[in-house]
Symmetry: D2
Subunit: 153 residues, 4 copies
């Protein structure tokens, strides 16, 4: 995955990501925690749990998508101005292999930032018996929302 260098518009980008992440009830429900936060790139980690599984015991594709979508959304959010909100317009996920493992690492990366539209990519890795394996890729398009009280931060 390309990792271009980006300059954030707001120095407090990491704090804004942490504040927003803490308000996502879904992240607490799936037991996700924030890893690295750098301009244009955010890592989210979580552990396998029975309550996140599909019928064969693998992590449900939707749960992989939930964590990857947040990673991509916050990757874009690091480059947005203070006071802006971020919404996902669309994302696509390819499930490369069953999500089998004890832990999972989701990496969201900005490919092309924009004033209105930001394009990101995500990679999901399963850690199974100590070996890390790429299990899913995501492409997500974000929109920057400004001037709306119900969609900020």
């Amino acid at each position: 995955m390309d990792q271009p260098e980006f300059k954030p518009k707001d120095e407090r980008y990491a704090d804004r990501v942490r504040d927003s992440f803490a308000r996502q009830g879904a992240m607490a429900t799936i037991g996700a925690s924030l890893g690295d936060i750098v301009p244009g790139r955010v890592v989210i980690e979580l552990a396998w749990a029975a309550g996140l599984s599909q019928q064969h015991g693998f992590l449900h594709a939707g749960m992989v998508a939930t964590a990857l979508d947040s990673a991509c959304g916050y990757a874009g959010f690091t480059l947005m101005p203070a006071g802006a909100g971020v919404l996902t317009i669309e994302f696509k996920i390819n499930l490369l292999a069953p999500a089998k493992g004890q832990r999972f690492r989701m990496v969201g990366q900005v490919i092309k930032p924009g004033r209105t539209v930001t394009v990101t990519e995500g990679r999901a890795y399963a850690i199974d018996d100590g070996r890390e394996k790429l299990i899913a890729t995501m492409g997500a398009t974000l929109i920057t929302i400004t001037g709306r009280d119900d969609v900020k931060n």
Copy 2:
């Protein structure tokens, strides 16, 4: 959404969907329940909950995707032979509007069944103060797995 008529390969299709759904820990976690199950079409319903929200209080896009992915997967599963398992290869979701509402209804529909590859579409509706609104569309590609003990039903 087109709703062609399909003939199931296994008369017990609805029971197989219910059995498999009951094994998805993720469906219990998000409080989802099965609605209509007809050949090529499955409905899943859930209520809003703080534990499913993103930072603005809307249903998290990933949770919309989780329920839609199951609806699409089980829509395809109704047409698969007994003993087969279903896995999602990829899906794409367009978030048309913030997922704001008290209840949500997800409809999965087979567009093109196949021996190996099945293509489905999903629609997510929010019910907000009694009014139903289309909030997301999904396209999901499924694969039929046969002869693998770890991926059946």
Copy 3:
């Protein structure tokens, strides 16, 4: 495919589509012509040609996508204000069956119009020995561009 009723912002929407279509060199190259133009819905037709084929003689997936993308883009364009330009942000296409036929009909339909972002869906049909068959579905996201001289109409 849902076909909601839409009210155009500019009564000259059909003329604007025709003018813009006539400037797309790619449409002439693939031999495409405009069919129905109604608010939120545009049809494009083309004939099979050796110069549009992939290695097995079917219409190339990219050529199916080219005609569908124009159909979706112009479907969105019918609802945009005079002077605005339209660009595709992203599209996804599912190839349901090999594009085998003498003629092809592409239908673009707006699902959700918006001031900035418009979401559309496309359906591609092959007409093979007089029988019409759904061969591809597309989801395309458009952006309305205003105030840029190089991207209008």
Copy 4:
């Protein structure tokens, strides 16, 4: 973009790509030529032409997709066994910037090869006044077809 090393199943992979490419009428129509062919990675190049343009004079998104789809498809094809055919099941393209330039370079890369399903990614670059710029990303899912006379090579 990750570039894992792959071992081809058939040593004649490059010749098979060239033979198949030469049969794609669409590649001749858009003036595309093959660049590098290595296991899991294929490059396709083309020049801007009025006959490939959309209404603003940029390369039509569908033409970008046509060349990228072939690059991705042939990237997957390099890893398939002799006698197999390749078909695209679905692809998604994000248009990051208007396709403005004199020449274009499309890179297709396998992310995850499989016996039945292969997942690939593509990158499209515009060369404008000597400067290369990333203008589009693609994710494409391929299927390996064996034992069908109408879909081989």
